[in-house]
Symmetry: C2
Subunit: 353 residues, 2 copies
Amino acid sequence: MEGETPEAAAPATFLRGEEGASPESARARFERVIRRVQAEVCAALEALEGGGARFREDAWTPPGGGGGISRVLQGGRVFEKAAVNVSLVYGVMPPEAYRAARPDTAAVAAAVGGEKAGPVPFFAAGVSSVIHPMNPFAPTMHFNYRYFETEAHKDAPGAPRQWWFGGGTDLTPSYIIEEDVKHFHSVQKQVCDKFDPSFYPRFKKWCDDYFYIKHRGERRGVGGIFFDDLNDYDQEMLLHFATELGSLRRLPFISADCADSVLPAYIPIIERRKDTPFTEDHKAWHQLRRGRYVEFNLVYDRGTTFGLKTGGRIESILVSLPLTARWEYDHKPEVGTEEWKLLDTCINPKEWI
Amino acid sequence: MEGETPEAAAPATFLRGEEGASPESARARFERVIRRVQAEVCAALEALEGGGARFREDAWTPPGGGGGISRVLQGGRVFEKAAVNVSLVYGVMPPEAYRAARPDTAAVAAAVGGEKAGPVPFFAAGVSSVIHPMNPFAPTMHFNYRYFETEAHKDAPGAPRQWWFGGGTDLTPSYIIEEDVKHFHSVQKQVCDKFDPSFYPRFKKWCDDYFYIKHRGERRGVGGIFFDDLNDYDQEMLLHFATELGSLRRLPFISADCADSVLPAYIPIIERRKDTPFTEDHKAWHQLRRGRYVEFNLVYDRGTTFGLKTGGRIESILVSLPLTARWEYDHKPEVGTEEWKLLDTCINPKEWI
């Protein structure tokens, strides 16, 4: 981005002025969560590389406030490409977006001028990561947890701040190893159940619905959990988090807990599969599934398509793409093979618990 | 597609009933052009393979009429993946699309019922091809020529038929070899000049503008010519083709001539470069540029994005993607290298003649 300071060492906080100095604000707490998660995930992956490949770090700090840190490991022995990014963004949303964002913001917007209300400043922060291992039996994993907050409306400084969060963790194997997929889903369920027993089934389905490659009729992988931000919450979910007090208490915990579940859900799988022997045919199939990953991310993923349109830092947006991918014309695995089993699972999502 | 007959041998014509029997109609002439071009291009590429890899053919004939033939060569010694497709489609366009299509159709639509006018049947036919050679010094080429016609409006059988055509031929090298690019562009200019000296400069710029990867600020390659269909014609261009008589006389000739220029523009380049020695670094750069090709096709190409949304035959739509591609985080060629020279040319398009 123009005006950013590339390659600078990351400052202790990307928050501005007094925000950075009040450690109990939701923003400050969330920044601490995502930066801690980034550090822990990178350390765990480097440990698996056994002292070989390391993460490279790029930090940027735009003059308007906020900033980001991209950490990328490429060409490792265990991981072909792994990226863990954090970013904090200050921006301005048009009044229509603000009104559409949540049911209660429409009332606020109407109270402070309706159609004529001006743009609303917002704050967004998140951690996102995609990890592509070398071994065809070691699945790709993606997670993303983000927090979004509007500042007080400029025409109504006393109006309540609005906030949302969202995210998810999902697994993309090229071969189905039931033990691994069940382990992954059971960790997701455990963390969801700590908050509400309805969360896991709802977020599991949401994940299957979101990671859908429509033109193929396939999911990208075997899912996990996903919950979206903004007005995609259903009413019941909103009620859980209706008060600001509730939000500030619960928000960092569910985000932090979900993010903290990433390593226990994933690392044991990689430890088991990173050295599994494989053939050229296994690798070719792995590459084809990576082609599907590219298709999903470039055509459907909201973060990616939004980033491409709005001109974010392109290398951070597209770092989710695998190092290598493959497209064969009209490739159809034979019925009953392990490749077919994966494809069938992507077409007909299963319950794992 | 549901209801199609896959893998059937292609019939002599995909036109329906009497259309197939009247060899002088624009549709029949255009079908002959694109099927001849498909056969000639495939034969020329197979000749370069020297008796090794062959094209596989898939034909389909939906019950409503029309049909298509996909011909794909994969894993050759010279060509990693090459596809040449023809298709003829009968469809129905909403009245808004018909009104928006060309200035004169708005008048027709108004005369026959305006807002209440019903859907308008159309016919579309085209040949499209993407050829990805193995050697990093042998450029990828793409061409596409298509013809679009509306049937007489159902509420005004006497209203004139509308028609448009479009297409182009463009080159995507990973290394700039001036002799090759100049040869390619000079063949495009020769064929354009036969019709109008203004065509080449206009279509060359149109090509540079169309194959633009906006999020990268780069063109996909070194361009060629491109002219779009529907209402993207400028007024001067429309005047050239204003009468039906003019259309029927000129249309097959410019399309056929452009399509016929594909082999003389491309084959000499491949003959010269198919066996050029290369290193792993050359190949890695080739793969990165193929990643850009994937980005353009999945994010911007109108044919691809339209096809993904409307559910065409997915394997024919995505056959344009290279067999293999690569994405490295934040790869920047050193200034002055051959890789940098290519990138610079993609950022700042040059005049080659």
